[in-house]
């Protein structure tokens, strides 16, 4: 069998020669705009925090036949004081109800309750919502219920922020050990850029920001780092090989040499993630969307941010021989 005719498609030209470094000013401006926009969105629009980080109650119900969201909203608003959100979720007979953190004083003022602390007040809200729904919506079934006390949501917020910062710090250390500090500064700046823009994405889209979102951000950190390391590894190698060429030209050569790999890997990761977003159901949709966004941003940043940043951090040409 002649196997040499097997390669069906050439996605990319065999050798590319783009001047990425020449575009760096434009890229830096674009990145700066996105970062500033994200920060601005964060402070003006805020994040649509899920109950993991906000405390409160989330109840997912399914009804027999299409759900009457307006009726459910009215029933729940009547049943409990506070911030009530009711939205369709997945199919037309699935509804997600969220009730913000309940103030124990308002709950204690209701008939039949007294002396509850803040954690018990959240439980009481859940009971009230459930019994109101059982009465008003015949055949309702409770698919998922989450009650998070303010105490735990505070802790989760701190743990989530710490996890992101700790992982950035560890990346900084690792790249410093394996490369040089100039690389590690470039890589971590690029990562911070990715994290900020991803948070901006959540702010602008108002997708729910919850515990799995932190997992998504950390994965984006890992993925973007992965991309950046591949480019940096090639840059270091090229620096050793072409000692007399100017830095920008070597950077361009390295980015071009890894370009088809960068695009192919992003491609396979993206097709898997699109499958997840399309098939994984509402619970995984937000998670998958965050990852898709992150992969795109991470790929962009390793080409247009991390590598060109080396011209700014001023990498030493004679260094980087540590590894060989």
């Amino acid at each position: 069998m002649n196997l040499s005719s097997f390669a069906l498609v050439r996605f990319l030209p065999v050798e590319t020669d783009f001047g990425f470094i020449r575009m760096r000013v434009g890229a830096f401006i674009l990145s700066l705009v996105m970062v500033i926009g994200s920060v601005a969105a964060f402070f003006t629009m805020g994040l649509n925090l899920g109950i993991d980080f906000r405390g409160g109650t989330a109840i997912e119900i399914s009804t027999q036949g299409p759900a009457d969201i307006a009726l459910i909203r009215e029933v729940v608003t009547q049943a409990v004081p506070g911030d009530v959100q009711v939205q369709g979720f997945g199919n037309e007979n699935e509804v997600l109800i969220r009730v913000g953190e309940a103030d124990p004083e308002t709950i204690n003022a209701l008939e039949g309750f007294s002396g509850l602390d803040s954690a018990q007040a959240q439980q009481a809200v859940q009971q009230l919502v459930r019994s109101a729904l059982v009465e008003a919506v015949p055949g309702v079934s409770f698919e998922r219920m989450e009650v998070i006390s303010p105490q735990v949501s505070d802790e989760l917020r701190v743990a989530g922020a710490t996890a992101v910062l700790v992982s950035l710090f560890l990346m900084l250390i690792y790249i410093w050990l394996r490369f040089e500090w100039q690389y590690s500064v470039g890589a971590v700046l690029a990562l911070a850029h990715d994290v900020i823009i991803t948070i901006g994405f959540f702010s602008v889209t108002q997708l729910q920001f919850n515990l799995p979102t932190i997992a998504a951000i950390l994965t984006i950190v890992g993925y973007s780092m992965n991309d950046t390391v591949v480019v940096y590894d090639r840059i270091r190698e090229m620096f050793r090989k072409y000692k007399s060429l100017p830095t920008p030209q070597v950077l361009d050569m390295a980015i071009n040499a890894t370009l088809s790999r960068t695009i192919l890997t992003s491609g396979t990761t993206l097709v898997a993630l699109v499958a997840m977003a399309a098939m994984g159901g509402p619970a995984l949709e937000g998670f998958a969307l965050a990852l898709i966004w992150g992969v795109v941003i991470g790929t962009y940043s390793s080409i247009f941010v991390a590598a060109p940043l080396l011209t700014v951090t001023g990498v030493r040409r004679d260094s980087g021989d540590r590894e060989s």
Binding site: S5, F6, V147, Q151, D227, V229, M276
Partner: protein, 543 residues
């Protein structure tokens, strides 16, 4: 790089075989694997027999974290300490003091005569016991810190940090035991009850979709005591009436008389119960029957004999659940509580009494419940996402690399087997985010192969022979592959350490996925290509 010694071949094939063996149980029904005695039977007693350990979000169930109320325990401890201080100082010959009081977390006692200071300190030192450490042996730390004020008359006694930690540790450990007994008594299968952090207990109950019952079961302290009712004292309509010494007003469970005045001293306590069960009273209402131990039976018999015609109160967690009149002495050491129970609530109370009282109040601070139906739905959607993601990636690789794509496809299939086998073998919990981790791993796993293949193309273009190009491709891609995967692994590790519950499941699959991807992409695909080179002896590079 392309030569494999025999032992390496054996190692590679062995690893794959072990992964497949751990994966195998997932395709065989439970009744085939396990005999009626619940033990693996036939070949399964030799082979691994555990399937994937599904998280509660996939199999349905309740995950509830309870906070142990240590403030109450500490306050209780201080009151008892004040009592101990008083008894110790009042022992003959008595040292005269004002009544010891609890002030700002310490017991403060003021001596009537300053010259007693030395004797008082000596006596208090005698009750200052060493803190038992984790091994149950006495440590150097003491339970109390005893300080004399410069005024020469006041002594301040505090519980030391070490003693408080010890109290906390014991309280949480005891709580875990009591909760386990209570939940076991409901016949729930496979509950998980573990300490979480310093002062929390995690309860996971698969299948149960009504978290309220667990919360009641765990959140009830179930400290039961029996007290004589003081019919002559009026507790007032709101329980705020002035009580004579030794008498307290307690709320009741029935609206006709919202409060009753009872003696502070308990006749009998729940610790003196030996057995409780659900039964029915004369009118057919569900009730709780109980039996006292010998000392409890004697105390209860004496008290009822001396108080025929009066009422006694059965108090559960500071609420009177029943206050029957004593018609005749109750000498048999057994009795019955009627209190408007349902069969379920009577059974639960009996179980709680049998399991013993909790040493502290427990409040649910985090509760996540998923119905079995939604869990099943998630599994199905997850499977679809995995299969579609997998197929798309394979198509992508075949289109991009042709024949080499076949090698990476085989590597990817082995990768998934190893990942699933690893999860089964380690009994790591697979959650819905964990499934997302698998899908993501599928997408990212081929990265190492892409890196290598691109490198091989490059080397081949620069004029090397096929064997040489493949050899160099693997060699040169190695450092990038390692660095890239270590960084992702770091992210997964951080997530594992910081994350809780379902997110942890994601970190686990991502972490294991990285290990198996590096192995399959770097070792397995190389092994396949080396074999191909040897037998096909290709003239040109087919990609």
């Amino acid at each position: 790089m392309l030569y494999f010694a025999r032992w390496k071949i054996a190692l590679i094939l062995g690893t794959i075989l072990i992964g497949v063996l751990f994966l195998l149980p997932n395709f065989v029904s439970e009744s085939t694997r396990y005999g009626p005695d619940g033990r693996p039977q036939g070949v399964w007693s030799v082979l691994p027999s555990d399937t994937l350990n599904l998280g509660l979000d996939l199999r349905g169930g309740s995950h509830i974290v309870f906070q142990v109320d240590m403030d109450e325990v500490r306050a209780d401890r201080l009151v008892r300490l004040a009592d101990d201080v008083r008894t110790t100082l009042r022992n003959q010959p008595a040292i005269l003091t004002a009544a010891p009081a609890v002030v700002e977390g310490r017991v403060v006692v003021r001596l009537s005569r300053p010259e007693d200071m030395e004797a008082a300190l000596r006596r208090l030192q005698a009750i200052n016991e060493p803190v038992s450490n984790t091994l149950g042996q006495p440590s150097l730390d003491r339970t109390l810190s005893i300080q004399a004020d410069p005024d020469g008359r006041t002594i301040r006694v505090a519980i030391t940090e070490a003693a408080l930690e010890d109290i906390q540790r014991r309280t949480v450990t005891q709580s875990v035991e009591v909760i386990r007994r209570r939940i076991d008594s409901t016949g729930t299968t496979e509950p998980t009850i573990v300490r979480q952090g310093d002062d929390r207990v995690l309860v996971q109950v698969p299948g149960e979709s009504d978290p309220e019952r667990i919360i009641t079961l765990v959140g009830t302290t179930a400290r039961m005591t029996f007290h004589m009712v003081e019919a002559n004292v009026d507790p007032g309509p709101d329980g705020q009436g002035r009580m004579p010494p030794g008498i307290m007003a307690l709320p009741t469970e029935y609206p006709e008389e919202p409060f009753l005045a009872v003696q502070r001293r308990a006749l009998v306590t729940g610790e003196q119960l030996v057995r409780a069960g659900q039964g029915f009273n004369e009118s057919g209402q569900p009730s709780v029957n109980f039996t006292f131990n010998t000392s409890g039976a004697r105390a209860f018999g004496d008290a009822t004999a001396a108080n025929v015609g009066r009422r006694f109160a059965i108090v559960l967690d500071d609420v009177i659940i029943s206050a029957p009149r004593i018609r005749s002495p109750i000498l048999g050491g057994s009795g019955m509580i009627d209190g408007g129970f349902t069969v379920q609530s009577a059974t639960d109370l009996a179980n709680m009494l049998n399991a013993g009282a909790l040493p502290a109040r427990l409040t649910p601070v985090e509760q996540r419940t998923v119905s079995a139906g939604l869990g099943q739905d998630s599994i199905e959607r997850g499977q679809t996402a995995i299969i579609i993601g997998f197929s798309l990636v394979i198509v992508f690789m075949l289109l991009a690399y042709g024949f080499f794509g076949v090698a990476s496809t085989i590597a990817l299939i082995i990768n998934i087997c190893l990942l699933m086998g690893g999860l089964s073998g380690l009994q790591a919990t697979l959650t819905l985010p964990g499934i997302a981790g698998i899908v993501l791993t599928i997408g990212m796993a081929v990265d190492a192969n892409v890196l290598i293949f691109e490198r091989i193309r490059e080397e081949y273009r620069s004029g090397r022979t096929i064997a040489n190009a493949i050899e160099n491709g693997y060699q040169h891609a190695l450092s990038a592959i390692l660095d890239a995967n270590v960084t992702t692994f770091i992210a997964a590790a951080v997530l594992y350490m910081m994350g809780a519950g379902p997110v942890r499941g994601f970190a686990v699959t991502l972490g294991i996925g990285i290990l198996t991807s590096v192995f399959t992409a770097f070792v397995v695909s190389r092994f396949l290509l080396a074999g191909w080179l040897r037998y096909a002896k290709p003239k040109t590079l087919p990609m």
